[in-house]
Symmetry: C2
Subunit: 211 residues, 2 copies
DNA sequence: GTCTATACTACGATAGAC
DNA sequence: GTCTATCGTAGTATAGAC
């Protein structure tokens, strides 16, 4: 299918070079078709860019993620909620470490610096639902209301995971030469799970003794 | 000074559009000079890009940062080390929230996805020294050796702060409508400091009771 | 040192053949 | 639907005037 090949190549090229840097000629050539196919199917470069964003949103919201989000909406037990947070973050870390996610995460990281309509579509189509599920789980786990403090906590929890891709070059420099890649990933996942416990316990303690 | 103006504009333009997306014509015009000045002073587009990176490294390693890094090297007391970690992370969060840092952080975030020689220069000229100082402080604060586990912990600590810029669009979507910007920043800084305590305490406990 | 003029390449869009 | 051909624009680099 020409359109599927075009989308795959487009995500890679737009991620690597951005909307302006990528070339429709190159994308078409790598997809084994003529450049005018892009005009025909997507109306031009901008249309292809938005289509690529929607394709990414679809890939982020895979079955396991959708199932986890739906399950999270029904959890009422603090201990269950805590386990669900850990599972969600560790699974996401796994996804970010997997090279198969390289192409579309580059696209997303790029959109963070200067968000366009493409980011809105990605957020609505997966990322946002996952974050809102985390907010709910944090509230259940700590017994706090859905206020600014809870959402700020989710930001810090997510940051620990997202840095793997968002600042991967930095992480690599800091960790290189200090262990095998597999061991480092395992250590990181263990650290994230332990941090979740540490931070949630702390938030529960803060609730009892507000400063 | 023509060269200073060229560097300022270059950081902004390269950050916004990347090496390939930015145009030397535009940069030169915005700096109020001719395009061939870039060829003369920096040998071409690539030379200007590297010069911009080195200029950024210089701005990151400002006096306060250098002083904090040097002070960190002399800290031997666990409690002092812990306070120094908090101070360093909170100050860095302040810097990232300040719009004045927008231009050069965009440049760095962009370099993370596909690091070039420019990233190596930025890492050596400030970022790396700060991270190594954090590693040392974590080791002092927890009484652990400088091993993979300590460095992984620094990655998670740094991630909480860096997400503010690296995934700013995402943070904004999650927090918008849940409080005033100033309150959110204060809440975030408080959360980061509390998380540092929570995570370090946890690491000390892990040392006593290895699983 | 700085600017103008020019050469050459590559881009996106479009029209039209098949 | 897909391709070829072509147009106008914009890119970098270079040579030479001042």
């Amino acid at each position: 299918m020409v359109q599927a090949r075009l989308l795959d190549v487009a995500i890679r090229e737009f991620g690597a070079k951005g909307l302006e840097g990528a070339s429709t000629r190159e994308i078409a050539a790598a997809a084994g078709t003529a450049m005018s196919s892009i005009t025909y199917h997507y109306g031009g470069k901008d249309g292809l860019y938005l289509a690529a964003a929607e394709h990414i949103a679809g890939m982020m919201a895979d079955e396991r993620m959708v199932a986890a989000v739906e399950a999270a909406a029904r959890i009422e037990d603090p201990v269950e909620a805590r386990d669900a947070i850990k599972a969600m973050l560790v699974r996401f870390a796994d996804k970010l470490v997997d090279p198969a996610s390289d192409e579309w995460t580059l696209f997303i990281v790029r959109e963070q610096t200067r968000p366009t309509e493409a980011f809105a579509r990605i957020y609505q189509g997966g990322m946002g639902r996952m974050l809102e599920a985390l907010v709910r789980l944090v509230c259940v786990a700590t017994g706090r209301a859905d206020d600014a403090a809870s959402r700020v906590a989710v930001v810090t929890l997510a940051g620990q995971v997202l840095i793997l891709k968002a600042a991967r070059a930095m992480c690599r420099k800091l960790l290189d030469g200090h262990g095998e890649a597999d061991d480092l990933v395992a250590a990181l996942k263990g650290r994230i799970a332990a941090n979740v416990d540490a931070i949630l316990d702390r938030m529960i303690a803060e609730k009892r003794e507000p400063k």
